[in-house]
């Protein structure tokens, strides 16, 4: 897919170019793979690939298992409760942990007395986090183990409500909960600031007092001399891997027929995974075993091995079932480290799961934003200049940017951006389903909508002029057809409830994690197993892996046992950035192909035919040239010389090499969504009636699961657009809606009718040519709803969430 701004693409530079350069092969072959969209000019693309790569996988309609609607491999276990999540793990002698957390947004600890907590019956250990380098993992943080009071100089400055201070391990959760209340602690409270705008003011309480002298490494992207900190303001970041400023922005505005300049605001959205963050840590002399609700088993293993100075082989992390992460469940987490410390202290397993309140406070959030977006448009609609300035707060953390969408979704020769972080005394932000891009699209797509109106053009047709991405163009066309876009008559209802229609779009880079390996094992009893540390975070990874192997071996998906989410197996990728399907399925297919070739070689020997004459399909192994030579898969495996055939493979580079490098491809995952809303002009309530979501994710491996992920993305987008908002008490710094009652998520009544349009798009990138869908499904929803609201009532809302109060205020209703 053409990159309209490709002259400015900057390659992200790995620290060691030699270690991470493209792989060269001694022997290679040329193969022709499907390329494009079936029914829309599908062609073939010739690629030179390693000699042991499997043959090209045909398009879905020619396959038996891949591309078919296949029920989840673990559906029965989930609906019957047989599936064991981390919170369900019970080990003999297990203790329960509980954190003491800061009740103040900014405070110094004056004294700390653990004696009463230590004496409480059933308590086995108390551990205090201190700030000495390495102190967090020492048995007593460098203190006298028998001490009951602490050297307060070693204790951290408290910068947000919920910051962890200490934890206890006890024989039951109730005992732990009570014991933690017995820790006597005195605080010196300090001035604090919670609001984005106030934190930017010169006289605001400062979150970080001292300034660090920074050094910039060669190859870093977006780090400039201006990437500095003044008060609570840090930045700006002026570039991404797609480059920085380009062209002459002022000249671009001078050439514009008209200029739009608007300010947009988005709220803090907290992570609300159904399964809270947590672990069960079991420190034993020969092995540290950690059951973790994580998006990256290998990453948790690596963290704990590094921190506790253990070989990776002595740390085992298991995630058999996982209840959602959305970007927040990477790394061991403070709870994971604390549980491990407490287990090491007590010699017993320790379970430490966060409760729902803690989730809201400390598990991460999507930072808020204040975006000032200025765009120039030529008479023909082309964009002549874009100037973006944004401010956002990730609390005490960084990363509150608004993504790359303004930079690259539409062709524009003149662009610049300045994205600032603002520190506040609030819980840290975290990656959250398409970090930055969701905020950015809310602003950008309303601007495009406004420009279309100014030009007197239909918003869909206008995007056809300014967006030459072929797949998104197809998504707009197919989505509009499914939605009935051209027949919609907005806002004309005679009563107080107005109906409106809107659309928005987004994109997502195709990321690949090359550290993705899997083993396929064929047993002599006819069973087949896949093994990898890759985890299924609820998206259906187990099922697509089974489908891929079943397709290769001519079996059914239910014939395949999938054993994943365990670091005893080969490293799989972390599941974030929509990388999982595109990273691990080629490794799995290639391992299955190797195992198959091994098996066929042994069968060919028995039949005295060429391996190339043999085929595996519909549960049989047969000769293509001699119909008398045919047997079932079960019979074929009995000819194996060993009890098992085992093959392991890793994700190779993209066929043809990565377009940008280091696992990053340019082929954008398009997403276009259409929304229909009702707005009650008397009460201000918005109801999203219907969403049509048109998406591409390379080869859809299991359309049913792709639909499921799109549904989830749209529902999350509805919550972001209308309901979710972290409300902090400005007097205390406490979150007043740290629950799932007042922190409103969409439930059955708020979920619209969702229809999906999946574009089967082949790019000839790998042996499965699959990509992820998690992020793209969530990006355009709030923008589409905002445009539909404007369409309904004729007044535009520039701030999320679009609550009834904001609707009424916009309408001038008091």
């Amino acid at each position: 897919m053409a990159n309209p701004n490709k002259k400015k693409v900057v390659l992200p530079v790995a620290p060691d170019k030699e270690a991470h350069g493209p792989v060269k092969h001694l022997y290679s072959k040329k193969i022709k793979l499907p390329y494009g969209v079936p029914g829309h000019g599908l062609t073939e693309k010739e690629r030179e690939v390693a000699i042991d790569e499997p043959p090209p996988m045909p398009i879905n309609e020619k396959l038996s298992v891949v591309g078919k609607r296949t029920k989840r491999a673990d559906a029965l276990y989930k609906v019957t409760g047989a599936a064991k999540y981390t919170a369900d793990i019970q080990l003999p002698g297990m203790l329960y942990g509980k954190f003491l957390r800061s009740p103040h947004p900014h405070a110094r600890i004056k004294s700390l007395d653990l004696s009463a907590a230590k004496r409480y019956p059933g308590v086995h250990a108390v551990h205090v986090l201190d700030m000495e380098p390495g102190g967090s993992v020492q048995l007593d943080g460098g203190h006298d183990a028998s001490a009951e009071t602490y050297n307060i100089d070693k204790l951290p400055l408290l910068r947000y409500v919920g910051q962890p201070i200490a934890a206890v391990a006890a024989e039951s959760q109730n005992i732990a909960d009570e014991a933690v209340k017995l820790i006597k602690i005195e605080y010196e409270t300090l001035p604090f600031v919670l609001e984005l705008d106030k934190a930017r003011q010169k006289n605001a309480p400062v979150v970080f007092e001292e300034k660090i002298e920074e050094e910039i490494s060669e190859g870093d992207v977006g780090v400039t001399a201006a990437d500095k900190q003044q008060g609570n303001l840090r930045g700006p970041t002026t570039s991404s891997f797609l480059g920085g400023a380009r062209g002459d922005v002022d000249k671009g505005f001078a050439e514009a027929e008209f200029i739009l300049e608007k300010e947009f605001r988005t709220q803090v959205q907290t992570h609300c995974c159904l399964e809270t963050h947590g672990v069960v840590a079991d420190w034993q002399p020969d092995m540290l075993t950690v059951y973790s609700s994580t998006q990256n088993t290998a990453g948790v293993r690596d963290d704990l091995a590094e921190l506790f100075d253990l070989p990776k082989s002595k740390v085992r992390v298991i995630t058999e079932y996982m209840g959602g992460g959305f970007g927040s469940k990477f790394g061991a987490g403070h709870f994971g480290v604390m549980a491990t410390i407490l287990s090491r202290k007590t010699g017993r397993p320790v379970k430490l799961m966060l409760n729902r309140e803690e989730e809201h406070l400390v598990a991460g959030n999507r930072p808020n934003s204040h975006q000032i977006l200025k765009m120039g448009f030529r008479k023909d609609g082309k964009i002549s200049a874009i100037d973006l300035t944004s401010y956002g707060t990730a609390g005490v953390a960084l990363g509150a940017g608004v993504g790359r969408v303004a930079q690259d979704l539409y062709e524009c020769p003149n662009f610049r951006m300045a994205q600032y972080d603002v520190f506040t005394h609030a819980g840290p932000g975290a990656a959250f389903r398409a970090p930055g891009n969701v905020q950015g699209i809310f602003a950008l797509e309303q601007m495009i909508d406004e420009a279309a109106e100014r030009l007197g053009m239909d918003p869909v047709k206008y995007r056809d002029i300014i967006d030459n991405h072929e797949v998104r163009k197809l998504e707009r066309m197919k989505g509009a057809e499914a939605f009935g876009w051209k027949n919609k008559k907005p806002g004309s209802d005679p009563g107080p409830i107005k109906r409106g229609f809107g659309m928005a779009q987004g994109h997502w880079t195709r990321f690949i994690n090359l550290n993705s390996s899997a083993t396929v094992r064929i047993n002599k009893d006819g069973s087949v197993a896949i093994m990898s540390s890759v985890q299924d975070i609820g998206t259906g990874t187990k099922t697509i892996l089974a489908q891929v192997v079943a397709e290769e071996l001519g079996l059914m998906a239910e014939d395949i046992t999938v054993k994943i989410g365990d670091t005893l197996y080969p490293d799989g990728p972390g599941s974030g950035g929509s990388v999982t399907a595109g990273s691990i399925t080629p490794a799995v297919r290639n391992a299955a192909y190797k195992a198959k070739m091994d098996l066929l070689g042994q069968v060919a020997g028995a039949w005295d035919v060429e391996v190339s004459d043999l085929e595996m399909k519909n549960g049989d192994v047969y000769s293509k040239s001699d119909s008398s030579k045919k047997m079932s898969f079960g019979e074929a495996v009995k000819k194996m010389r060993t009890n098992q055939i085992v093959a392991t493979a890793s994700r190779p580079d993209d066929y043809g090499g990565f377009e940008i490098g280091n696992g990053i491809g340019y082929g954008r995952l398009g997403s276009v969504q259409f929304a229909e809303v009702l707005v009650d002009t008397e009460t201000g309530f918005i109801k999203v009636e219907r969403v049509v979501a048109a998406h591409s994710c390379g080869r859809p491996l299991n359309p049913m699961q792709v639909e499921s992920q799109i549904n989830g993305g749209v529902i999350m987008g509805v919550g972001y657009a209308l309901y979710e908002d972290r409300i902090l008490d400005l007097n205390t710094g406490h979150m007043v809606n740290a629950n799932l009652d007042q922190y409103k998520l969409p439930y059955a009544k708020e979920i619209p009718q969702i229809e999906t349009v999946i574009i089967e798009h082949y790019g000839a990138f790998s042996s499965t040519d699959a990509s992820g869908i998690g992020e793209p499904a969530n990006i355009p929803t709030a923008g589409a709803i905002a445009n539909a609201v404007y369409n309904a009532i004729g007044v535009r809302l520039y701030e999320l969430p679009m609550t009834p109060q904001k609707v009424l205020a916009a309408l001038g209703v008091s």
Binding site: P12, A14, P15, D16, A19, H20, M131, P133, G135, S136, V137, P156, P164, I212, E213, E214, G219, D220, V221, G222, V223, D227, G235, S240, N296, G299, D303, E306, L307, D309, L310, K312, S313, G327, F330, G331, V337, A394, V396, A397, L398, G399, G401, G403, R404, D421, F423, P428, A430, A431, P435, G436, N437, W508, F511, G574, G577, N662, G663, I664
Partner: protein, 75 residues
């Protein structure tokens, strides 16, 4: 092997590409505005010296908590 990166042994991050672990993994700082960072020692966004953990500051040997990356202990 020594990590080719000059980043602190305990710096970790997450961006759209995935987890940034340093050490034997490439530490790609390709979208700094939307990336989050934390310190493995504190398991929070603040380092042991009470300053933010970030790719622009945690490669700084002048920072008192900076720790040189160590040999990978695979196996």
């Amino acid at each position: 092997m020594e990590s080719p990166a000059n980043y602190c042994r305990y710096l970790r991050g997450k961006n759209a590409y995935g987890t940034l672990e340093g050490g034997d993994k490439p530490f790609l700082n390709f979208d700094p505005a939307s990336s989050t960072y934390w310190c493995l020692l504190t398991m929070g966004p603040v380092g042991p010296d009470s300053q933010p953990a970030h790719i622009t500051t945690c490669g700084n040997e002048k920072r008192k908590c900076y720790t040189v990356p160590k040999v990978d202990k695979e196996g």
